[in-house]
Symmetry: C2
Subunit: 68 residues, 2 copies
């Protein structure tokens, strides 16, 4: 499993946290998601053979947030 930390901008509340968490968790290959609302840091553990960093970022962006 590979681990990365995404810097997500614009999450303001629990709904935002759930939206980002849910969008990532539903991707095949994502094994672990930890969203920190205060810092905007989103830790993701994933199987590199099934999903890549670009797809993770796209999933977050589709929810309306910018990823640094």
């Amino acid at each position: 499993m590979k681990n990365i930390t995404l810097e997500v901008k614009g999450m303001t509340c629990g709904h935002c946290k759930s939206a980002v968490n849910g969008a990532l968790e539903e991707l095949a290959g994502v094994e672990r998601v930890e969203v920190n609302l205060e810092t905007g840091k989103v830790e993701v553990g994933y199987d590199e053979s099934k999903v890549d960093e670009n797809k993770l970022k796209e999933a977050v962006e589709e929810q309306g947030y910018d990823v640094a």
Copy 2:
């Protein structure tokens, strides 16, 4: 139809707006809801024979927001 304006605290994003809007709209007797995210003001038009101000406030509070 009676119209009131609730002062709702803690709405930060579009999800919050949808949560408050949805909770009010699903109450029997509520005929119009207008949520202003920037000001926190929520205008509600309702049938006084079916619902009262306390029930409107409760519906918003159940979503996790304070009503002044």
